[in-house]
Symmetry: C2
Subunit: 250 residues, 2 copies
DNA sequence: CGTCTTCTTGATAGTATTCAATCCTCGTGG
DNA sequence: CCACGAGGATTGAATACTATCAAGAAGACG
């Protein structure tokens, strides 16, 4: 397993990660929310000295749990999943990331989770060993990363509530509302959502099996709450009903 | 409900929270791990200008989810639980805190969880609105709080794996190993652990019912892994067996 | 257009929950 | 000092929700 990881890093990167120039035409879209948000022009130019950008194709591993932390990442475009594995293969997706989210923060000698792309993605990355220098050069950035880490913490705690105390139906509703919110944040319609992640990934995120996920989608459709558009997209037909279900009101 | 909270804060604090002098005889015990760890004498004296200390009796609410954040807390002595509630009363304990842990970090207008003591506790607290001043006065403290927030994040992610993918038996083993580790960190024997939290609190932490928790303890006893010493304490008889169970190896 | 993968649906099984009763512990008061 | 009462913990029986096993349908892709 560590052998595979080593090989991957040795031979794989050139194939999987395409480097792009530091002039970031996409960054504008997420500038308000991303790590690089709220920086002055001067701060931003210093910031770019530490940053490199990569394009990663869909369904590609970025790093594995236990790998020595090489980079701190910020997602510009695309969707990424973070997950942990048990020795027998059981998997828990601990988060789906959207543009503006950061990942790869680590205190220890290794990353505490694996990261892989769901869709093709554009990432900013910062060498871990130069992070302290970056923080000194652009102090506001440290505060920003701190803020984003606290946001991650809050959503992890919210997810603990979902995993521990909600039913399958409520879990799916919660998941759909989360995707809807993140979609809306990007300026897209909240009730027409794209689900590029597989049923397996959704199941592993919610602590369910793919069969239960599938059955629950079918039920929600029957109840008129959603209207599937193939397996990869759906329309929310009753937003307030779905919200009530997600928040366990009704 | 908000009425109750308001009354609590108005009339309750004098009764529930006893203030103690800033000379902290207990702090020595957790100095290496706590928020105040690794500070120079000079930094520490500046630090104390922001800090107040309180003693809180057992089973007492410190703040509720949604309350405006007044303080950042650091636990010196005792055990605290953080939890979230659903409207219908379902509860998820999102963490048990031990000496050295911080809580009450919040970005929003309100705390994102409730906090209550399990045992009597000694707390350091820092007014939220002066936190930025404190960070400026003692820059190293901001890094320290950042570190502790990342630790919280890592343990939340670990708990997501437990909640989503482990069986009741594995969950209990994981919980016991966590308590054992935190006990050992305080210089106490790892295999003789104290469980001051109720079965309800343990169940709400692991996403189980009290009955399942109880039954699982009984089973683990039968299997010779643990040896209950009343409901509030137990000896771990087979540490490596319990560890294997917690990590889902065997 | 056929193959392969992913998703959906169906039948059955199992783990944890629910409902209910008993037991135990500990604090209280006689 | 011991009996009593109350709340929490344990145990038992039945149920329910979700998982597992198995098969079929729908897309995706060459």
């Amino acid at each position: 397993m560590p052998m595979d990881a080593a090989l991957d890093r040795q031979h794989g990167e050139a194939d999987r990660f395409a480097c792009v120039t530091p002039s970031c035409e996409h960054c504008e879209a997420v500038k308000d929310v991303a790590i690089c948000g709220r920086l002055s022009a001067d701060e931003f130019s210093r910031f770019t000295l530490y940053r490199s950008q990569v394009i990663v194709s869909a369904e590609t591993t970025i790093f594995r749990e236990g790998d020595p932390p090489e980079f701190l990442y910020s997602l510009t475009i695309g969707i990424i999943s973070l997950y942990k594995l048990l020795p027998d293969g059981r998997r828990q997706v601990i988060g789906f990331l959207f543009p503006g989210d950061v990942f790869g923060l680590s205190l220890d000698a290794g990353y505490s989770y694996s990261a892989e792309t769901v869709t093709q993605a554009v990432l900013c990355r910062f060498p871990s060993r130069r992070i302290e220098d970056l923080y000194e050069d652009v102090p506001r950035l440290e505060k920003r990363v701190f803020e984003l880490a606290l946001k991650s913490l809050a959503s992890a705690q919210e997810q603990m509530l979902t995993l521990g105390r909600k039913t399958a139906r409520e879990k799916i509703a919660t998941f759909l509302m989360m995707v809807s919110r993140r979609t809306q944040e990007r300026g897209l319609p909240a009730s027409l959502i794209h689900l590029p992640m597989s049923r397996t990934a959704i199941a592993d995120y919610l602590g369910l099996t793919i069969e239960t996920v599938s059955r629950t989608f079918t039920q929600l459709k029957k109840d008129g709450l959603i209207d599937p558009r193939g397996a990869q997209a759906l329309a929310i037909r009753d937003m307030s009903g779905l919200k009530a279900l997600a928040e366990c009101l009704g």
